[in-house]
């Protein structure tokens, strides 16, 4: 696992995309997350999306907060600059990075603790500012890195591995993002790569604040006997489609639902029902999206797919009316008014 250095050699026959990279060029270090962690599937989906979109890896900046999910930027896009910031504050750092250089693609990776608990404020304000970014929350309802405490997205009544029952209402980040003005809002499941990869691609092409809530189960704290996420169960069902060190649960999960519904087993033995939005769903209607999300939630299901998009989205730079060139590249001539202007200022202050 983590002590094994990844070979840098590529098989010569690996397919290259339009900008000359193989899929392996989009990979990062070997993951140090638990075997079977849904987060690794999200990393693989990001790799796939970037490769398919012909994005040069170094033109991506990946940022995260603190937590299991926030470790993942080290495990994809190894040729991109990454920044593992402080807990709950990735949005502000990403905002500042974007202010400095609007030309890069900003990928923010966060978790439910990072975004819905400590970082809820920054999550909200980044959405309402329209920061152009792909903001992915790898949502498992628990704090993995500190061993199994509830997060703010855990459902009321759900039971933790250690037996505690959550009595607080869950925060739905999708509903918040819709309400706060995000212009691309989607939800998916780490085990549903066929759905997730296109959603990430759409977010990367989007011109404003794009948010994807990815239900990403935690194997370590959902590992008790009888669970379909126990370590043995996962190993037995490993499809080994991974190009990095991850286990894709998608085929198994799909077998458990009809075409439009995916059932995800929960820690307490119940099933989470993810319902894909219908093909005729109008994703450009924010109010309809909010209704859909709430209606399904009332029926005990979770809406997945592209829930809302504003194809004409404007971003923060449009609001600030900044120049097209990255601010980080402006030099003295463009920034410093010079001595003559200062002499005039002095003259006006006497």
């Amino acid at each position: 696992m983590t002590y094994i250095a990844k070979p840098k050699l590529h098989h010569p026959s690996l397919a290259k995309n339009a900008v000359g990279y193989t899929r392996r060029d989009y990979e990062g270090k070997v993951s140090t997350l638990c075997a079977g962690c849904g987060h690794d599937s999200v990393s693989a989906a990001i790799v796939q999306a970037c490769w398919q979109l012909d994005i040069a890896p170094h033109r991506v900046a990946k940022l995260s907060g603190i937590g299991c999910s926030s470790k993942t930027p080290d495990y994809f896009l190894g040729a991109s600059h990454g920044f593992n910031t402080v807990h709950g504050r990735m949005p502000s750092v990403l905002t500042g990075a974007n202010l400095a250089n609007r030309e890069l693609l900003y990928l923010g990776i966060s978790g439910d603790g990072d975004s819905a608990s400590i970082g809820l404020g920054q999550f909200a304000h980044a959405m309402r500012r329209g920061v152009r970014m792909v903001y992915i929350v790898e949502n498992n309802g628990v704090y993995g890195l500190t061993k199994g405490q509830f997060s703010a997205t855990a459902d009321r009544g759900s039971v933790a591995k250690k037996g505690a029952t959550n009595t607080d209402t869950a925060i739905d980040l999708v509903s918040l993002a819709l309400q706060l003005g995000a212009t691309y809002v989607a939800r998916s499941f780490s085990g549903d790569k066929a759905q997730l990869v296109p959603l990430i691609e759409g977010a990367m092409r989007h011109g404003g604040a794009a948010f994807i809530d990815v239900i990403s189960p935690c194997v370590a704290f959902n590992n008790h006997a009888g669970s379909t996420r126990s370590y043995d169960y996962v190993r037995e069902h490993n499809e080994a489609v991974s190009r990095i060190d991850f286990i894709d649960l998608a085929p198994d999960q799909r077998a458990r639902g009809d075409e439009d519904v995916i059932l995800v087993p929960q820690q307490d033995g119940s099933l989470m029902r993810l319902r894909r939005v219908k093909p005729d769903y109008d994703a450009t209607d924010r109010i309809a999206a909010m209704n859909q999300v709430l209606a399904l939630a009332a029926a005990g299901e979770i809406a997945t797919g592209l829930l809302y998009v504003d194809p004409q989205a404007r971003d923060m730079h449009a609001g600030l009316n900044t120049v097209a060139a990255p601010l980080s590249r402006l030099a003295e001539a463009e920034l410093c008014p010079g001595r003559a202007a200062l002499d005039k200022i002095n003259a006006g202050l006497r």
Binding site: P57, L94, T95
Partner: protein, 611 residues
């Protein structure tokens, strides 16, 4: 009864109600004297309030050029009934009380040892103006007129200031001029007992400018090339960001497209403010925030990250009274410790300590260079006294041949040529590693920035030796910082002395005056004005060269003295505290008295044995 008689050397204090339009009239008073070539130093003493609470404006007139707060009031212009008693009490014996005599006051409301000048301003205004707003506003101008008559302030000077202020608004100009002259005529005809405080034309201003430190710091950020400003409103720093916006709108807007070569974000809090400038600094833009003590408290987690991940950023901390929300509209130098050692773990930060608007400008621009050069947070610690008061200052200077020091940023060409890149590797011996900016090269130079320990090549590591390498290198970098920051300014005594004084920031003008006064009494001290932390070797040498060193500062806990003791391992007994921390700016009188007392005590104390 004695009578204060003074020309070009006195203190006038205006007691007003916040929001009554007094501020602009008061500023005209100060500026008119300035235009007559006589130095003034005004200070706003204001409440945390928008309308209704008491506010004061204290103007020191000093042909000798002393710009610190003097202490004592020679004339009170008492326009606020709420604070009448305390205002009357504050006047020096033999001084003057100017008041609105529209409503008769009982004799016990006055003092017998001061001269009272009554003017029924409200009555005059009510008789002259219909509109209630005009009645209020012109009241201030009529008082200004009367004072100008009594003090021999040239009316043409005030009229010229009006003309500048109301350019293009001729109607306003005319009515102001009329009110001014109405006030002058009243004083000429009815206040014959006169006033012993006079202004006489001089030539003591030279090329100096009259400016608030906050505006100067903002301008320093413009000249220093800051492109990203993220901030959260907090007194007394808000006007830094606002002035930055004003100057940028003027100087950084593309004339053809109207697009901006700057970005200003009013963040949701100070945590987001510093988060944004951390992201911008990481990504190669020069970025700053402006805040005050409580804001710095909120920023401390990020400061630890920025220190350890080595991100350039600049914080302009306009200090105010603490702790907690403390005295938000009063001045202190009380954020030294909380800034110098801000954050968890072993952290130390660079602090710059400007004394006036000129240095606010210079230090702000220097901070942006130093942050890039040192790849670390740099504080500019100013305070309310410098930041929110107009101060007479040497003109701002800029050398057009000056280039931004962007520090050690490895280019795509250097990476392509095979230059070794170790993000946290000390290759130059100064503790400062090289960095790359995101997006630089397709396959070389990318690294993962983290707050956790890593090896010199930015690979995650929890090995002790890797940790030691990093944090010891950071100490070497801090030693480099001591050589790069603005160096202390020595002010040697006229006579050889074993006594010395260390001071910094807004204490400087009062200290200059105190040193002069002390020397006149035969107490000679060598002065050292600190301009930055960490301290260069010259500070240690200076202390070593004296027997006793006073450390004058505006906080309760002698924070600068603690830094000196802690960083230079100075024997605390050698450093005597001189502390002023009631929220008012320190005065020369206070310093002179405190040092005189200590010196007399030292003279009578048994001599210390040589170590």
């Amino acid at each position: 009864m004695s009578r204060v008689e003074a020309t070009n050397d006195f203190v006038v204090k205006f007691a007003n109600v916040n929001g009554s339009g007094s501020a602009s009239a008061n500023e005209l008073f100060a500026k008119a004297i300035l235009r007559m070539g006589v130095p003034v130093s005004p200070r706003n003493i204001f409440p945390s309030n928008i309308q209704g609470l008491p506010t004061w404006y204290e103007v020191r007139v000093s042909e000798a050029g002393w710009l610190g707060r003097r202490g004592g009031v020679d004339m009170m212009v008492a326009m606020n009934p709420q604070t009448w008693a305390q205002d009357v009490a504050e006047v020096e014996p033999g001084g003057y009380l100017f008041y609105d005599s529209t409503k008769p006051l009982p004799p016990e409301a006055f003092r017998t040892d001061i001269h009272v000048i009554g003017m029924p301003v409200t009555a005059i205004c009510n008789a002259t103006y219909e509109d209630s707003r005009q009645r209020q506003l012109f009241k201030n101008i009529m008082v200004l007129g009367a004072l100008s008559q009594l003090m021999d302030i040239e009316p043409a000077v005030i009229e010229k200031l009006f003309a500048e202020q109301y350019k293009g608004k001729e109607r306003l100009l005319d009515s102001n001029v009329r009110a001014l002259h109405a006030g002058r005529e009243f004083a000429r005809d009815h206040l014959q007992e006169g006033l012993g405080l006079k202004v006489q034309r001089a030539d003591k201003i030279g090329a100096r400018i009259f400016m608030e430190g906050n505006a100067a710091a903002a301008l320093g950020c413009v000249y220093g090339g800051a492109t990203v400003c993220a901030w959260y409103p907090i007194t007394p720093s808000s006007s830094v960001a606002e002035a930055f916006e004003k100057y940028c709108a003027k100087f950084r807007t593309d004339p053809e497209t109207g697009q901006r070569r700057y970005a200003i974000v009013q963040a949701e809090d100070e945590i987001a403010s510093i988060g944004m400038i951390t992201g911008a600094g990481w990504n190669g833009a020069r970025a700053f925030t402006a805040t005050s003590g409580p804001g710095v408290s909120l920023m401390t987690e990020f400061l630890g990250l920025a220190y350890f991940a080595e991100i350039p950023l600049t914080i302009i901390d306009v200090q105010r009274g603490g702790p907690s929300t403390g005295m938000p509209t009063r001045t202190q130098q009380a954020d030294l410790m909380s800034s110098a050692y801000a954050s968890h773990g072993d952290t130390k930060h660079v602090l710059l300590l400007p004394q006036d608007p000129k240095e606010c400008f210079e230090h702000a621009a220097a901070a942006l260079d130093l942050a890039d050069r040192l790849q670390t947070p740099v504080f500019v610690l100013t305070d309310l006294d410098i930041g929110m008061n107009q101060r007479l200052s040497e003109p701002l200077e800029w050398d057009d041949s000056r280039r931004f020091d962007r520090g050690k940023v490895m280019t795509a060409e250097e990476l392509e040529a095979g230059k070794d890149f170790g993000r946290y590797k000390d290759v130059d011996g100064d503790g400062i590693p090289w960095r790359t900016l995101p997006g630089t090269h397709p396959s070389k130079g990318a690294y993962f920035t983290r707050g956790t320990t890593r090896d010199p090549y930015a690979q995650y590591s929890e090995k002790g030796p890797d940790y030691l390498y990093n944090v010891e290198r950071l100490l070497r970098k801090f030693a480099t910082a001591a050589r790069l920051v603005p160096q202390p300014v020595l002010k040697p005594a006229a006579a050889k002395t074993r006594l010395a004084v260390i001071y910094f920031g807004s204490t400087a003008p009062s200290m200059d005056e105190a040193l002069h006064a002390l020397a006149a009494e035969g107490i000679h001290l060598d002065g050292l004005r600190l301009r930055a932390f960490p301290f260069p070797d010259s500070v240690r040498d200076f202390i070593a060269a004296h027997d006793q060193v006073f450390v004058v500062e505006q906080n309760r806990d002698a924070q600068m003295r603690s830094l000196l003791v802690n960083e230079l391992e100075i024997n605390p007994a050698k450093l005597t505290k001189v502390l002023h921390f009631d929220g008012t700016p320190i005065t020369a009188r206070f310093i002179t008295q405190a040092i005189t007392r200590h010196v007399h005590a030292l003279a009578t104390a048994p001599r210390q044995e040589a170590a």
